[in-house]
Amino acid sequence: MADIVFVSRRHSGQRIDRAVQVLVSLAALGICAFFFWIVSDLFAHGFGELSWSFVTELPRDAGRGGGIASILVSTVAILGVCLSVSLPLGTSAAVLLAELGAREDRFALLVRRCLDVLAGVPSIVFGLFGNAFFCVALGLGFSILSGGLTLACMVLPILIRSTEEGLRAVPNEYRMAAAALGMTRSRTIFRVLLPAAVPALVVGLVLGIGRAVAETAALIFTSGYVARMPTSFLDSGRALSLHIYDLSMNVPGGEAKAYASALVLLALLLVLGSAALGISDRWLQRRMIRI
């Protein structure tokens, strides 16, 4: 009797296992399907508009004609400002959190709490803050600089958290070995720990780039939406995502160009992401084998 109960239990257990497996696979399949649906929709509507001149020409007729050259330049410039500010700041903060303060340190706790809140703040709030602080208080106006700095505030939590986790994942033996060899903490951080944490840093970087390039709401109030070719960082510049929004919502007949711009945005993300990964990989190879 006991045997039979045991067997039937095992059978029901197996059934649950199978059911869970099927459900999980279905969920994974659903996610893939959703992704392919979006991409194929973009291709179906936007691929016809894609051409070399689309990338090199200035927009005409509110974006219905011409290309997106000025938009691309603005996008890259905004991203450049964002990263050149957020990377050094983020790395320093991560070093502070992971290496220099104890985990239960009050100050570190405060910083971490702030980061968690920041990571959850809606981007429109960042936009309003950026407008009030960078555009008005600092007098930068609607400019690429204001937009980039606002985005830097947005991606900092992502960068810091992933770099911090990366540093924490570095085996403690390296710290012990370095200390036992009379190496100072700072040299240990820069020569051993940070290089070892680079893969995690790059993951954060790629996520941050993704968030920055896709941002629309925060940029409306900070870098503005002038579609002209910017001539300085203090010029207003329209980011790609904003261009897509404008074409699809405010410009009748702009849908095709919006789709094409979205394809370019997707490609830009892919290129930047794989470039970051590739460069860091090469650098790591060189660094680990020969500084």
């Binding site: 033996e173 070995a177 036992a180 009379g182 020569r191 051993v192 680990m288 084998i289």
Partner: protein
């Protein structure tokens, strides 16, 4: 294996003098009131069961204990004229003079060459030629030059465990330490690598004073001149007996030592 006529050496001048040293982690006492003298030029083996504070002892000698959160050290450790735990002691300098080898080989994720050069470059400015010369010398010292001399730019992590441990020793030697602390340097290695490292320890004792923690009594007997036997009493490590290895194995003063050495305890 190794022959050790070392117990025939003359008693040497004390290099490290430990007086009523206690090490605590928070409220837990790891080591209580230890007094011990490490003679210059000797190999001192530290033996005893797990948790008797052997590693804590080593950590207190090069102040690696500073890195352990909540660790407090009391008592004095004199290294020559230097008061190791004084507030104004230059810790970096101390650790260059008192090298340390860990149980698990811990090379940096860098090339073989960089592993040795990185700590050297921080000590002083060396020319490329000086660095190359030093790298070759220490690798020869640990017998890795023949094996690895032509691939110094390979990753150190690709080496075998025994090679990694010898690289770690070479890395420590490059700083020309006066003392090498070794925390069970052979226990993570296979028997052949272990024998190689053991031979190496004996050879190194010609230029370095060595303190080696080991669980291997036969090894302690083979290589050491001095023996320090630790035990756990009231949840804290205490020193039961120390003296020349020859004497302690032949005529242990404490009953506990005799029992442990015969394998009856621990």
């Amino acid at each position: 294996m190794t022959s050790s006529p070392s117990h025939l050496r003359l008693p040497a001048v004390p290099l490290i003098q430990i007086e009523s040293l206690s090490v605590r982690y928070g409220s837990k006492t790891a080591l209580r009131e230890v007094s011990l003298t490490i003679p210059h030029g000797s190999i001192t083996a530290v033996i005893g069961p797990s948790g008797c504070g052997k590693s804590s002892l080593l950590g207190a000698l090069n102040r690696l204990s500073d890195l352990v959160p909540g660790c407090t050290v009391s008592g004095t450790v004199r290294f020559g004229e230097l008061d190791v735990h004084a507030a104004d002691t230059n810790v970096q300098d101390l650790r260059r003079r008192v090298g340390m080898i860990f149980q698990k080989p811990n090379p940096f994720p860098l090339s073989i060459r960089k592993n040795i050069e990185l700590p050297l470059r921080e000590r002083a400015r060396f020319s490329r030629a000086q660095l190359d010369e030093r790298v070759e010398r220490v690798l020869r010292d640990v017998g890795l030059w023949e094996e690895l001399g032509d691939r110094l730019d390979d990753s150190a992590l690709k080496l075998s465990g025994g090679q990694q441990q010898r690289l770690c020793i070479a890395r420590a030697l490059a700083l020309e330490p006066e003392v090498l602390l070794m925390d069970e340097p052979c226990s993570a290695l296979d028997p052949i690598s272990s024998a190689t490292v053991e031979d190496l320890i004996v050879r190194l004792s010609e230029t370095c004073t060595i303190v080696v923690v080991t669980h291997n009594l036969a090894q302690a007997r083979r290589i050491s001149d001095e023996l320090a036997f630790f035990w756990v009493r009231d949840d804290a490590g205490v020193l039961i007996e120390s003296g020349s290895t020859h004497r302690v194995f032949r005529m242990p003063h404490a009953e506990l030592t005799a029992a442990y050495l015969q394998g009856a305890r621990g």
